[in-house]
Subunit: 241 residues, 2 copies
Amino acid sequence: MAKQDRAIRTRHTILVAAASVFEERGYQAATITDILTTAGVTKGALYFHFQSKEDLAYGVMAAQGRHMGTVPPRTCKTQEVVDTVLLQTYRLQKDPMVRAGVRLAMDQQATELDRGTSFQEWSHGMTTLLTQAKQQGELLPHINPTDTADLLVGAYAGIQAMSQAITNYTDLDHRTTTLLTHTLPNIIHPPILTTLNLTPQRGKDTYTEIQNNLNNTNEPGTDGESINRNSNNISEPQTAN
Amino acid sequence: MAKQDRAIRTRHTILVAAASVFEERGYQAATITDILTTAGVTKGALYFHFQSKEDLAYGVMAAQGRHMGTVPPRTCKTQEVVDTVLLQTYRLQKDPMVRAGVRLAMDQQATELDRGTSFQEWSHGMTTLLTQAKQQGELLPHINPTDTADLLVGAYAGIQAMSQAITNYTDLDHRTTTLLTHTLPNIIHPPILTTLNLTPQRGKDTYTEIQNNLNNTNEPGTDGESINRNSNNISEPQTAN
């Protein structure tokens, strides 16, 4: 395996371990030692990729946020918005990294983290899609893409928290559909609205589509996780401690 | 002061102290000792009212949830829904007890708490109002009051969390308006919709109205906090430890 591939895989292993520890213990109680033990890597390898617990938390939140951008481009931009939401619902039910990222962003005890960044990255992605949708004439004239993006991101964050607290995500499909059917008719022109596919199956199909695209391009890492900002220096230490 | 009044005031003092400790430290890290120190009451007085840290957390969440039901009845039930939302926005900005209750409900590290109950109490209140609104013909025919109540409660929980994380609630008025304008046109008949007052000032006015009603009925406790389930036995210990 090339050195760069190995570094990417190690970084991914560390992030998966950090996600699991943050999800289980919360940001405040989690320690670097817990994460080292779970990841089974050396301290040197961890500090090659991440400088601190805070840095690890941002890594997990970024990995979760980045998933958003991975819906393949759609001709209809409001379908791309819908697919982004449905994909997140599918991933929250299936992927511990996504759950951990969302929980960190919602963890009001993680006072040293700038949790706003995670919300804002999501909103930025949604704003871009809704701005394109507006330019294509898909949106009702009164819609401000930034406000609508903020609403969708915030409201989604809340319904997933409520679903997690009450049913551990088993009713998240239904809550997601309710969110979409209560908001989209106020956002999208009716002729476009009637063409959209809002079924939860669409989340799973989009997930499969992304996995197939990743396999076809032979990217390393199971979620397309790319190497971090230290990536120019790809020789990570193997025995340091 | 009558014994019962004193007991109600002591219970309120303890809840305010618990709210402040939970808000500052999070559920997991908070201790009974912290709460005793902040409240300045004896251990005996605390255990007269609350059996455990868990019980204190439920007390804070219930005090927050109960605020919801205190909007005076409105002839137009959808205005009562709107007033409940706007009142919560006003209180989140002003009242530490409300903030603490909401944070406990959203605290995913508070694993021993049944946090779903707090969401469900809110949903139950909203469902009642929306069912009345439906009976009065205010809602569009396709609306299921339970689903719509769940959506409003969950979405609101999310926008307040996002507002807290990004601006510490300074933009919560704007986010609340955006939530209402994106959802209400899909819920309420247009002729009713046009009569509604959605301005943030309505939250403050409702708050003042409630305070005036409380002062007129001479209820003890600054937020109308009623005595707990032990209230039949109103002689709390003064010197126990």
